[in-house]
Symmetry: C2
Subunit: 357 residues, 2 copies
């Protein structure tokens, strides 16, 4: 979906890396996160200030190979040193991101272990993954476990950007995860960051990234620096009339596209009668300076047809591939529809959905 935008931006978003640049493991040997490129850090902090979606002052920035590595680093940081043979339970309310269970238990870690749906968890010490807006259903979430009882939240805010949801304030949680992929579409760059309040937690996360991959690709950081700077420039550039060509604005572009797609999908679903979607929510967006509808990156589509118990299976019969609700610890009558795919794929989906009644 974002490719068209970057083609429009053109050469201004190109990155050039000379043969002798960025050869070292180190970006700044004296920094807490010694493999974090200072220019990248500057652009990340700038972007959060431009958008107003997270507090950055007083936070440590830890870079990772995507949010995926960082959430493992965060779980490690919150659960180490290990206490005997009792890994800390990791929970999230269903429906939760389907990759949480296999990623959490990839190594059968002695530090932490997936414990499933937070709503069926007995309570006590745990790590709670709070994804907001939530993957798969787009819900705006807050931590549901009790910190007094020993729950420690990790806030997965990778979709908390103005194209997906109203920006209702600057988030200021203990650990907040973001990724370039969901902001600009550059998934292949494999670059995320964590804003971390506590210095010791940040240090443990840095240790984890050091030991698991000895830091993070400098090439990705150089490229993301350029990409993010183009995004911020468009909102901070001098007003038109100074002779320079207008820079395309990413969040405006993406919001327009998301609104179109959601309008199309809602109309299709309403016409078919066989499905339902979560109700549209709207709110005042501090960034857009107006009330806007939430346009989640995924649609949590529920099949309302009698006799259909497994929506993914039912849709597969109509040549629609979608991840079934059970994989998210949720209702099998639901599926997750990707709203960020290429135009061609999205158009095909709508066409096939509209043929079902």
């Amino acid at each position: 979906m974002y490719e068209a935008f970057w083609r429009e931006v053109g050469d201004r978003a190109a990155t050039v890396i000379r043969g002798w640049q960025a050869m070292s493991y180190f970006s700044d040997p004296d920094a807490l996160c010694w493999f974090l490129e200072p220019e990248f850090e500057r652009e990340v902090r700038r972007l959060h200030r431009v958008v107003g979606n997270a507090v950055v002052d007083g936070y440590h920035l830890v870079v990772g190979t995507g949010a995926t590595q960082l959430y493992q680093a965060a779980m490690y940081a919150l659960s180490s040193p290990a206490r005997g043979d009792k890994p800390v339970p990791v929970v999230s309310p269903a429906p939760y991101y389907s990759s949480y269970p296999p990623q959490t238990d990839l190594q059968l870690s002695g530090f932490y272990r997936w414990a499933g749906d937070a709503s069926t968890f007995a309570g006590g010490e745990c790590i709670e993954l709070v994804c907001s807006p939530n993957n798969p259903d787009g819900a705006v979430r807050e931590s549901v476990m009790s910190s007094a009882a020993g729950a420690k939240p990790i806030h997965d805010l990778v979709y908390y950007w103005p194209q997906y949801t109203p920006i209702t304030g600057r988030a200021a949680h203990d650990i907040m995860l973001f990724t370039v992929s969901k902001i600009t579409g550059h998934a292949g760059t494999r670059l995320g960051w964590a804003l971390v309040k506590d210095r010791e937690v940040a240090k443990k996360m840095v240790y984890f990234v050091d030991r698991s991959t000895i830091g993070v690709s400098k090439d990705s950081q150089l490229r993301a620096t350029k990409i993010l700077s183009v995004v911020s420039d468009a909102y901070e550039a001098p007003p038109a009339g100074d002779g320079g060509a207008a820079v395309p604005r990413l969040f405006d572009f993406a919001r327009r596209r998301m609104e179109e797609r959601w309008r199309t999908l809602r109309a299709t679903v309403a016409a078919s009668g066989a499905f339902s979607l979560p109700e549209e929510i709207a709110g005042y967006c501090d960034f857009n300076k107006q009330t806007v509808a939430a346009c989640p990156a995924f649609a949590w589509l529920r099949c309302e047809k009698e006799g259909v118990e497994d929506c993914a299976e039912f849709l597969a019969g109509h040549k629609i591939v979608a991840r079934g609700g059970k994989q998210f610890g949720g209702d099998a009558r639901c599926v997750r529809i990707n709203m960020l795919d290429r135009d061609q794929v999205f158009d095909m989906l709508v066409q096939r959905l509209s043929a079902i009644n």
Copy 2:
């Protein structure tokens, strides 16, 4: 050390990445390693053919965020599915790379667990890390554990390149690890690869890299493609006289530098009388087409002074920072000296060493 080389190469080694390039998670959705850029794979296979240090035909190529991630992926692949509560022991003969123990036990994995020096291991099922030439002492190694008894080797061949050691044949082990960092000096690119004989093992390694970082930076792969192509071009380019400027040759450059440094270090050590080094080994190099000396990336320096039990501590007193032998499971009278540092750092080291007697 390699920076000077890449400055000499100049713009031919520059990588340009447009804003809309390489945005997807996928490089080739149908490939076994779906996040491996086909051009990068081509350059890797080409380089091994040019150098003749490893068999590539019939091998699967798995890309990773440095050899570090790949050796974890390989341990995972060789030990999964987990058998009850018995992680597979991981061993390596001392002195072994000091990062093996903390990297292996980073997660206190239920699949595998560090079990120390292979020479004190009781035997039976295990994973053996075979580093050759060995970090820290440069020794040429072969697997020492019995495969009949259930030992499975992982060959860490990141230093098996002609600047460090005579290329005595094309290696053809089950799992062989390499990294851009030790070939061209681009450590910041965080890019390695594994040549894997068995398809099922390769698939499990791909699964591991998918779950831990959802693949590998495309930017790093694009850049490494360019870098490796420049290296191979210099050895396969049409002979001079065709009008084009000669392309600098990486392995020649690096071998010259390594030989100089080793000559300097050996002379310094011989003059001081306080230290010793492993004996120089030489052999016929199929790549250089002549007998050459081994020039390991590290020098395993032993203090011969009476009363000095801890060489690292002793050297620290002379303002020389070196990792002590105990961290490698070896003799505290030894330290590991980095032979790949910048000229200034290496010159300072030699100067300070020569002042000790």
